[in-house]
């Protein structure tokens, strides 16, 4: 008898390996052409396509791909494998911006809801997948990227909450506590297109930043919940569309579509991954002319920011909310900074509740993740009046004092023009010289608006003058005196600011400041969380 060959053929695929590939194949886009087609119709990409785009090629390691919906009690497993692959969420670890920052700084946890599976709802197994990834995130302090599209908690996972299931309401789900608890530990980037309601929106709402495509609808309840609550019948498109959610401040960055959302998410994350080597500075001499010689003329503070910062490095957040304050991120010589700046085109740059909230939150984001803060000040002060008080002005603006005082990251203030009153102090980490502070020669200062100061401070002398022309002349003389006192060079002479600088030297001043700030010992202790507002 001839002995049979006992050398295994390493090329052939044995049945168990083939079955493994078969099980994975259900979830691949190439085997789900109807899903891909449907997504094209709504100008969206599949979850896998988004994950593929955001991760560096070949870097994504998936966890839990073989999960299927907890509905074995009413559907066959083959059916569940075909219709509910990965139980509706792609989870894993991939590298983002690895070519720029190297493997250590670029590993991220990726969570991407798959709307094509039961409308991206949160089911029993997909919650467990998220919790698994959150545990890894906690252990390794990884940035987290969430594609949040989906309808929230899922009715119908009969294995879990059906008549024979082991849940009643599932309110002991740990995901939201874990997700909320992760705030501040590493950057959490929320991305949304399409419909994002209820439990999905609850996760989105905990993220550091919310990047939304134009077609997004974001709401704490979708049509089902709303009707269930007796609040009326609404189409999904009527609930939290982007023009509502940008103006409300919920959306940080509005983008065109999924592709742009991924590109912006990568850009946003990059500010927290480190310095970059490739940068270009605009012509700094231009800064000398950006502040008008006419002190009452408005100018474009965004242009100041873009001229100061490395080319193409300004990413603004909450552009359509709190219009008097500009917040965002820039790089200078490749070094990332958070930036807050007053917008003199809106209410003369007076600080209102919404703008103060933006600034305070920007401070939290920077403080949590170790980013230095640049404050560009041009404000006549906090907004005042009976109207603004109806918006809780006192509490909102004071967030700048509390958050500024608790910021341990390097903080730099540059006064481009107006520095008046408590508002200017709030821009400057709570008070002048709490942080390095300089002004451009166009800087002008006062404890309050100088017109009001003179009217009130010299009321007796002014009222003692009968002749209105003479009174006006004295008023103007006193006012001129105050403006002369309040000039930047005079403020510096009295040491209320550290120096007056040539605008063209601002970058150098900042980078020298960074050098000495970075030499400071890092503060110990718990890192703060980033409040959602």
């Amino acid at each position: 008898m001839k002995a049979s060959s006992n050398k295994p053929d390493s090329e052939s695929i044995r049945p168990e390996l083939a079955e493994m590939y078969r099980r994975y194949s259900y979830g691949l886009d190439e085997n789900r052409p109807d899903v891909v087609e449907k997504r094209k119709k709504t100008n969206q990409r599949t979850a896998r396509a988004n994950v593929e785009d955001i991760c560096d090629p070949g870097s994504f390691v998936e966890y839990g791909a073989l999960a299927i919906a907890a509905q074995r009690g009413r559907r066959s497993e083959e059916d569940l494998r075909a219709r509910t692959p990965a139980d509706g969420i792609i989870t894993g670890i991939g590298s983002v911006n690895g070519s720029e920052f190297g493997p250590e700084k670029s590993r991220c946890v990726i969570l991407a809801y798959d709307y094509s599976v039961l409308a991206g709802t949160q089911g029993y197994f997909n919650h467990r997948k998220k919790d698994r990834m959150l545990r890894i995130a906690y252990e390794e302090c990884l940035p987290l990227i969430l594609f949040a599209e989906g309808g929230g908690g899922r009715p119908g996972d009969v294995d879990a909450d059906g008549p024979n299931g082991v849940f009643v309401a599932g309110l002991d789900c740990t995901t939201f506590a874990m997700f909320g608890g992760y705030s501040g530990k590493a950057p959490i980037v929320g991305i949304v297109s399409g419909r994002c309601f209820a439990g999905n929106a609850a996760l989105l709402g905990c993220c550091d930043v919310i990047i939304a495509a134009k077609n997004a609808n974001i709401g704490m309840g979708g049509p089902v919940m709303i009707e269930g609550g007796g609040l009326g019948v609404f189409a999904p498109e009527e609930v939290g569309p982007v023009d509502v959610q940008t103006k409300s401040g919920v959306i940080d960055i509005l983008v065109e579509d999924d592709a742009e959302a991924v590109a912006i998410a990568k850009k946003y994350l990059s500010y927290f991954q480190g310095k970059i080597d490739n940068w270009e500075a605009p012509d700094q001499k231009k800064l000398r002319k950006l502040i008008p010689e006419n002190r009452r003329r408005v100018y474009d503070m965004r242009l100041v920011i873009k001229t100061l910062a490395d080319v193409d490095s300004f990413l603004e957040i909450k552009k359509d909310f709190g219009l008097g304050m500009i917040t965002g991120f820039i790089r200078i010589e490749g070094q990332p900074f958070g930036v807050i700046a007053n917008n003199c085109k809106y209410q003369a740059g007076a600080i209102e509740a919404e703008g103060a909230d933006k600034a305070a939150r920007l401070m939290q984001i920077c403080n949590a993740h170790g980013l230095p803060i640049l404050s560009l000040c041009d404000t006549p002060g906090f907004m005042v009046g009976p109207d603004i008080e109806t918006r809780g002005q006192v509490r909102h603006v004071c967030r700048m004092f509390v958050n500024g005082a608790h910021a341990t990251v390097p903080y730099f203030t540059v006064v481009t023009r107006r520095g008046y009153g408590l508002g200017a102090m709030a821009m400057a980490k709570g008070g002048f010289t709490q942080c390095p502070i300089v002004a451009w020669p166009t800087g002008e200062f006062g404890g309050m608006g100088l017109e009001g100061f003179v009217k009130k401070g010299y009321e007796k002398q002014l009222n003692a003058i009968e002749d209105p022309v003479e009174r006006e002349a004295l008023y103007n003389k006193l006012l001129d005196q105050q403006y002369a006192r309040g000039k930047a060079v005079n403020m510096a002479a009295y040491l209320e600011i550290d120096a007056v600088i040539d605008p063209a030297e601002t970058r150098n001043w900042l980078m020298k400041g960074m050098e000495s700030a970075m030499a400071r010992p890092k503060p110990e202790g718990k890192r703060n969380f980033i409040d959602t507002w």
Binding site: N294, R296, R297, V298, C344, K345, Q347, A348, A350, P380
Partner: protein
């Protein structure tokens, strides 16, 4: 017929053009004051000033027509 609308609520403090004048895109045509700040209004495109619907001192609303061009 093209119109230049006010980008904001404010008071007209300067009218920089006159009827019949040729203006170019981005020319300053009117200065509005709000919160004691001067805000220039720019021509959105080239044209000739046909009618000026405001005068110095007039308070305007956002969207109100300031100038008609042709």
């Amino acid at each position: 017929m093209k119109v230049i609308e006010s980008p904001m609520a404010g008071k007209v403090v300067e009218v920089l053009v006159e009827v019949g004048q040729s203006i170019a895109e981005d020319d300053e045509v009117i200065i509005l004051e709000a919160m004691k700040m001067e805000n220039p209004v720019y021509a959105p495109e080239n044209g000739v000033v046909k009618e000026i619907k405001v005068e110095v001192g007039k308070k305007v609303a956002e969207g109100e027509v300031l100038i008609v061009m042709e």
